[in-house]
Symmetry: C2
Subunit: 583 residues, 2 copies
């Protein structure tokens, strides 16, 4: 037994107890006749006191030799502190040390092990095992564990069965790029790592498993955008004999359970919005509804005058920014530059100040009179004191640009409060989306998603208009989950593959095992998958996932701590019947 | 809502209720004016009745057209059965059907969906989604879920934090063969899939995580013996500031918790045995202690006569087989043939019948008199009616052969009762084992295992005699878990690598990140990993793991259901800068 108590445990009621503690030296202060050491473990910090009048001289000497991050074990007595620290749970006491044993020494760490460290991202990743000693990272990992435990308990109580599906599966060209694994026992052949357990969970429904879930790693070999990881974790779920409403019920229940157990929040029934409505009102299929600034379409009130830019645009659309009528010319120019950046790509922006006195002042006053501008205010819901910002151009692109601006302003104005939670279902997604490069339709969700019965007749004539039984769960402007009711008959699945440009042979070759399974009594089924990394981060009040992953990879897919990937021996490649062919 | 109740739910108290059920047609019987259908889902079977006098003619016709494994939805009324079936929970009632909807038809399945199926292993694996519909497989998967939930709850309650470690890591030549994954973004470089999260869990200890666990897939690219899988699941655990006794306590507690919650069994404190003792008493480091037949060493009582075979042997060792003195010559010859098979490799076997009347009859009566044989009986603990079986030769090899015979007889005699559970700790494993082929020592557990302090002085002189702080948890003759107290200082770790034949450079290159981490205050730590597949199977009363894995691979590492691994497109290989090189 290295310790009788943890470093977060002792309280005033423990006074006079003899205790043994072990942990890391957070810091020490030498005041001549006394030395104080903050001893840290996972559970907290306890102050140790070494006092010349009460502590053995040899132990005093040991204490003075301690460096930061030394691992020590001490035995001593709990005493009441003279000056209490109300900011820490153990702040009423300290441990008067009798014996000290150095369990391990430490080099000076390359950055300070403090909440606000002096270490940059790169050095913290290289020494991630030191970074995790810091509260923000450690607490994120503990938080993630709590979330997954709550998820598992909730689903298990509803008769969901966690089933492990294989990691060494088959490569399919649909979807993102696979990571592949050469097979030594089957030379020239390869496994793929799963992008998701999609087909396996559907097979489990065919197998009668009825309610399945799995918290599982998935893999996508894509160029890494910020905050994307090549391996990521899903809460993958599937149910049989259900309709869309049943799925929304269960997973709304799960999300509500998490908000309640983790944040003691009771949330109303989640609002729902169709994909079309979300795009129209927020320019975005995952709107953050914690704040307003809803889109106001201005075509009817802005295209009747001589302003050519608006007249020639497919869409003129604006938002009313609260408390921004007083922005200076410089502030507004900065916003205009912001939307003109290549990442956003707007060609310009019109503004209209709604002065507190009820008058308007716009950048296009020579084309529009006060009455016109009053109509703009009405369409965007602008109040006196607001600033209306207006973009125009092709409808989809313009909405996307204005959505980016809305989110940016939401951040700048502090409207996106991390600990306010606004879940939302977005439903009725399109089944297909046009891929300009490939000149073909792609499945917007995936090729197993069922079309809405009432839209199937449009598959030949207007495939882009067919809606799917597909839904996303959005939390605070982030998609945290998405799913669909699946196709469960072979004919519809074959029709779907046809519309995705597969020949019957290609479909059979790649998805034959699923289509064959559908011949043997597949039940109606559907499901949903949460992105656990993001879900946890959002619930934790963060938007970046990196601190919720113990050992993340950088943007080149490298683990800089262990230095992977790396070259391997030729003999290893030979055994696998492959060779490196650098071009 | 496709159903108001599951097929396992309705009871006599539900009589007269209008219900909706959905599921698969297990079987149907057409008695002319009545049709009965057994409707099955995950939760059970409910009998449906279609009766010409009470059911619509069109529905009767539909019912008669149903085939096995059709997926249907029915609505009807719960009625009391005329002839009740006490063998099923719903056996008191049946549902008189009013409406029937075929949700999906089914081809005739390639094997019967019954507990005792007519399908062989190969066809069941190819159609695993049908195999899982059978109770034995379905229940194994549900059982596995229950085990993992109990494990997670138990460990979480003890403050263990589940942390996900990466799957795309670095290849190291130590241990088994890695599966590797080419990196597209780092051409010519490869990730490896983890054989275990060993180094990461140790880094989490350095990181101060204190108590870690993870239920995690691991990968070994080894030639597959029966009942081995290339991907398998571990319950991986690690603790800081502990000694061996603490680890044994916690995981004995976990195992006891499983036996209690799953089998309502209270088990005594687990017995412990050193590796040496286990080898001496059972010829095996994972002895099945549910039955006796302990080894009796006979050198002292068998090497004083003219029987050259025994006199020249390093070890003469026997077991007493209960109730086998009456074996015929033919039965004994069969046993002799069994130990002489190449898999066992004994050159012969001596026997001695302990007759009920107290006399002895052996195959070597011309060398040994009754008094000698009485001494053999004493040494092996043989009673009248037992058959003593004796092997001789080099000590280790002979013990291993006799152990195989003991287990075989345990099986044949029904002494290995599947629902009797006898856990055992085997401790004090050797640190190193000699590898004849490589002419070097290997780490018996792994290179991070600490030697016993009192044996370190033997590292140079007699490395094979150094014992490790290593332990296995054995259940019913199977190793279900194993672990060790780790080395936590850089010097001992370097010493260990030296004795394993690594140069300092090789050690730094392969394990530098761990040894570097040890410079920054590594705490004393240790852990254990359970093999979840085997643990679950044993707890389920089985010795084969295959039905506890949803989608297992065959002995060539193939998933015959999805037909993986498979060839992939050259463009995919080109992107990864690799090519196939068949020799």
């Amino acid at each position: 037994m290295y310790r009788s108590h943890s470093c977060g445990e002792l309280r005033i009621a423990d006074t006079n107890k003899d205790v043994i503690l072990a942990g890391w030296v957070q810091k020490s202060r030498d005041k001549g006749f006394m030395v104080w050491v903050d001893l840290r473990d996972r559970y907290g910090i306890t102050q140790l006191i070494f006092d010349e009048s009460r502590t053995d001289a040899a132990v005093m000497q040991q204490a003075r030799a301690l460096g930061r991050e030394f691992v020590i074990q001490v035995s001593g007595t709990v005493i009441e502190r003279e000056s209490k620290n109300n900011n820490m749970p153990t702040g009423d006491i300290e441990v008067l040390v009798k014996e000290l044993k150095v369990l391990n020494s430490s080099e000076v760490p390359p950055f300070t092990i403090e909440d606000d460290t002096d270490g940059g991202e790169d050095i913290r990743m290289k020494y991630r095992y030191l970074d995790i000693r810091r509260n923000p990272v450690k607490n994120s990992l503990l938080f993630r564990h709590k979330v997954t435990q709550e998820v598992r308990n909730y689903l298990s109580n509803l008769d969901f069965c966690e089933v492990e599906t294989p990691y060494l599966i088959k490569s399919t060209p649909e979807g993102a790029r696979d990571f592949i694994v050469p097979s030594r026992m089957n030379p020239g052949q390869f496994y793929a790592l799963p992008q998701s357990p999609q087909t396996f969970k559907q097979l489990l429904m065919v197998a009668g498993m009825d309610r399945y879930f799995q918290i599982v790693k998935c893999f996508r070999d894509e160029d890494l955008r910020a905050d994307r990881q090549p391996e990521f974790t899903q809460i993958d779920c599937e149910m049989s004999f259900i309709e869309q409403e049943d799925i929304l019920d269960v997973f709304e229940g799960l999300t509500r359970h998490l908000l309640k157990t983790i944040h003691q929040l009771e949330v109303e029934k989640f609002p729902r919005m169709t994909f079309d409505e979300a795009m129209r009102r927020y320019g975005n299929d995952k709107p953050d509804i914690r704040f307003g600034m809803e889109f106001g379409e201005l075509n009817a009130v802005a295209q009747h005058k001589d302003f050519g830019v608006f007249n020639s645009a497919e869409l003129v659309v604006g938002i009313a920014v609260p408390q921004a009528a007083g922005y200076t010319r410089k502030q507004i120019d900065e916003l205009i530059d912001w939307v003109k950046r290549p990442q956003i790509g707007a060609s310009g922006m019109v503004y209209c100040k709604c002065e507190p006195d009820g008058t308007f002042k716009s950048s296009v006053d020579k084309f529009y009179d006060q009455e016109d501008l009053a109509n703009w205010a009405k369409a965007t819901g602008a109040q006196p004191g607001n600033l209306i910002l207006i973009l125009s151009g092709p409808a989809y692109k313009t909405r996307t640009q204005l959505s980016a601006l809305r989110m940016e302003l939401g951040n700048r104005l502090g409207l996106r409060k991390p600990h306010e939670f606004a879940p939302l279902w977005v439903i009725d997604f399109p089944l297909l989306e046009w891929d300009e490069d490939a000149a073909r339709y792609h499945a917007m969700h995936h090729p197993f998603t069922s079309p809405k019965q009432e839209d199937i007749h449009l598959l030949d004539s207007e495939p882009g208009k067919v809606r799917a039984n597909a839904y996303d769960l959005v939390l605070n402007g982030n998609e945290i989950g998405g799913g669909s009711i699946r196709i469960h008959d072979k004919e519809t699945q074959a029709l779907m593959f046809k519309h995705l440009g597969f020949t019957a042979e290609e479909a059979q070759e790649q998805f034959g095992f699923l289509m064959n399974a559908f011949q043997y009594g597949a039940p109606p089924h559907g499901g949903l998958a949460f992105g656990l990394d993001r879900l946890t981060a959002i619930l934790g009040g963060q938007e970046t996932i990196r601190d919720y992953i113990a050992f993340p990879k950088n943007n080149s897919g490298r683990d800089v701590m262990i230095d992977a990937p790396s070259a391997i021996a030729k003999s290893q490649l030979d055994e696998l019947s492959i060779g490196v062919q650098l071009s």
